[in-house]
Symmetry: none
Subunit: 236 residues, 2 copies
């Protein structure tokens, strides 16, 4: 289970950070990374219990980009499920589905958990390949941070037996290239400028949800890239 990285974005309470480390130990994860965490002291260590080593080996960085470096898939978690088909930025899949879909993913997957109060920002969410959430009461959907981490890791742990490596998946660089071609295609077809960003994010999400193989990525990139270039050329 060394293929997941738990990324805490600006955690505010060291007790939560310690409890996250313990939960990681409970479900056999050990790669913890924090983006600008609160000061970590005795309380964090106390709450980590027998998982203190996860805490002391944790990577601390300044930006989300550094935190997800080398990861082939970036998963954002959100407590808020916005209804309505147009709220594409916030259509997360349940944690159980995330576990099933990533069961045979090769490469490292970053799991982003946001601040206790505010979660992940719109910008951070837009950067994610897919979103996950924990189905909970509509009246009080916001879980404690360490509980949320715990439940997601629990779900991932349940599928560990089914992790059979199948097809190599595309790297981050490859995907960024595809997204660039898609953006070029939007410009080429004179897609309304005010809708471009949303449509780009939507496309990224759809690709993320389908967890394409390397081959699938190259194929779709070829089609989109050729279409963009042909239209650009015909315009000259």
């Amino acid at each position: 289970m060394g293929d997941f990285r738990v990324v805490l974005v600006e955690p505010e309470h060291e007790g939560n950070v310690g409890a996250v480390a313990r939960a990681m130990g409970n479900f056999a994860f050990d790669d913890l990374c924090m983006v600008n965490p609160c000061p970590l002291g005795d309380e964090a260590l106390k709450r980590a219990k027998h998982a203190g080593h996860i805490l002391s080996n944790a990577m601390i960085v300044d930006t989300v980009d550094e935190a997800v470096k080398g990861c082939s898939l970036v998963v954002g978690t959100t407590g808020i499920v916005t209804h309505g088909p147009k709220r594409y930025v916030r259509i997360p899949m349940p944690a159980r589905e995330l576990a099933a879909r990533t069961a045979d993913h090769e490469g490292r997957i970053a799991l982003l958990f946001g601040r206790e109060g505010l979660g992940l920002t719109q910008e951070e969410l837009a950067r994610c390949d897919l979103l996950a959430h924990i189905p909970s009461s509509e009246e009080y959907p916001t879980l404690n941070l360490s509980h949320a981490v715990s439940i997601v890791l629990y779900e991932l742990f349940q599928t560990r037996g089914r992790r059979i490596s199948r097809n190599p998946v595309s790297s981050e660089e490859e995907r960024e290239l595809l997204y660039k071609y898609f953006a070029r295609l939007l410009v080429a077809i004179d897609y309304p400028e005010f809708r471009r960003h949303n449509t780009e994010v939507m496309f990224r999400r759809m690709m993320g949800r389908s967890v394409p193989t390397k081959w699938e990525f190259y194929t779709i990139m070829g089609v989109i890239g050729d279409a963009a270039k042909l239209i650009e050329k015909s315009k000259k």
Copy 2:
């Protein structure tokens, strides 16, 4: 979801009690009972967040017998799974199985959670109708109390409260239209004929895996359709 009672047996840390109340609120449970709890003060209330009412309405009793009064099934939870067929006292079922098995149970079910340090005693376990546990790492199986409660309630919520209304997904006709546009795009960009069929199937599979909403389908269809038409036009 009023058919479960969460029973904490001699909890030692008020912070945990508060976190349990919050987790109950998150998964729509409200019947909390404590057997000889530690003193409960500000810390418990703080950790309960918006579920303070669950804490203040909790029943406090002296014995497990009082706590489970009126319940038609008593479930004990244990972090220790003793192997071997003769250790009948400690053969628990996974939390997920518990959720499935109790899904159509009528009457109130008591869920017993033991002390942070020692769990439930042999005597308390013997009193239970069935035992449940949370599958976890063999190296560090002991979860924080509130995390354990949270995961069990999460599992119960999954089988009872499927409340997340899904966004409308595209119809078969709509999808066929998208696939037709994609096929047209392949022809327009002079995609090698012998590869067309495979690439069409691949695209269909990717779309199928990402289960797009109606809106996502229309958006991506717009982009692909416009690209195909533009290239066709430029060729004339």
